[in-house]
Symmetry: C2
Subunit: 194 residues, 2 copies
């Protein structure tokens, strides 16, 4: 998605430790117009999948999922809740997730009443690196016997294992901005888009 | 806001300990169409305030703030980040907040670069009870020397101190659904709307 890669080149910041910060428009301050354009792009990519519901994870997936929902005729958005403590409840589907960025294990949870057997789910997230969050969201859909109809990610570092991992499991993953390299002087290189 | 109070009556659930759960449409599963209607209502209430930016707090404020932003010509949304640990940074405005629901102290933080002196801020949140989160967001605006141009809340329990507290401090607070009583059998009563 050209507008997105241009924006990342313009406003994304590269920090030591292979960190790409896009918090001026995606995950701290939000450019809602860009979110709506992202929504249209995901709709273009997944329009024929008969999506019943969108599943994401707090917090940075929520604005994206809201904009995508609107493009899919206001399908419900469900966001998994993230806790450091593993306070599982019988009323939730839960899955552990390793955050390499924060060096922490999270438990993400979705109330059972909000995911049903046979529902066609579009899973969305802002970033894909190691694929841990995406795998946990897929696992939660599996527990609910819901159908993962597609996986969408805004930014992916293609030199990290996440993209290959999720595609290798057979999921239809679409990525809007595929970062193939970042240099210490702040240059960001992208691969071809889907 | 009639549509909202009707929805809360229909789908809100009252639990022991004065807990009102609206997680089937507001803060776990999200009805984005309702969020857009909430956006239009906040725009009607604050249209003349020359809003430059919307400030909310993760996670439940984000979908609301996104819908409101669109109605205000896509002003940027900033969401404060919430951490249990007080890992303050020199680069953020930070404020402690007591969560009575969870019996925990949080630190909420906003990167300094995303709030500027003189900016006119609309503060939004999903719930107002004791007013702790709203006070913390106001405090962060004060630190940035930004102007609190209005405060909007989707649901407020009027028998708790938050509404009087924030209005008593002189802020223009608008509430879309004012709960005046909840009974053990699940009945929810509302006051007149703004």
């Amino acid at each position: 998605m050209k507008k997105l890669t241009e924006r990342i080149k313009k406003d994304g910041k590269v920090y030591p430790g292979d960190i790409l910060k896009v918090d001026s428009f995606l995950n701290h301050q939000i450019d809602v117009r860009l979110m709506d354009e992202i929504g249209e792009e995901f709709h273009r990519l997944f329009a024929d999948r008969e999506i019943d519901k969108i599943l994401t994870v707090e917090s940075s997936g929520i604005a994206i999922a809201s904009s995508v929902s609107r493009c899919f005729g206001y399908v419900p958005v469900v966001y998994a809740k993230k806790t450091v403590a593993a306070n599982m409840s019988k009323d939730t589907y839960a899955c552990k997730e390793r955050s390499y960025t924060r060096n922490l294990d999270y438990t993400i949870q979705v109330a059972r009443e909000f995911l049903s057997k046979g529902e066609r789910i579009l899973i969305l997230d802002d970033f894909l690196a190691n694929g841990e969050a995406m795998k946990a969201l897929i696992n939660i859909c599996d527990q609910a016997e819901a159908i993962v109809a597609g996986c969408g990610v805004v930014v992916c570092k293609t030199y990290q294992p996440g993209e290959k991992l999720i595609k290798g499991l057979g999921y239809d993953l679409k990525v809007l901005a595929r970062v193939k390299a970042m240099s210490d002087d702040g240059q960001i290189e992208f691969e071809e888009e889907d």
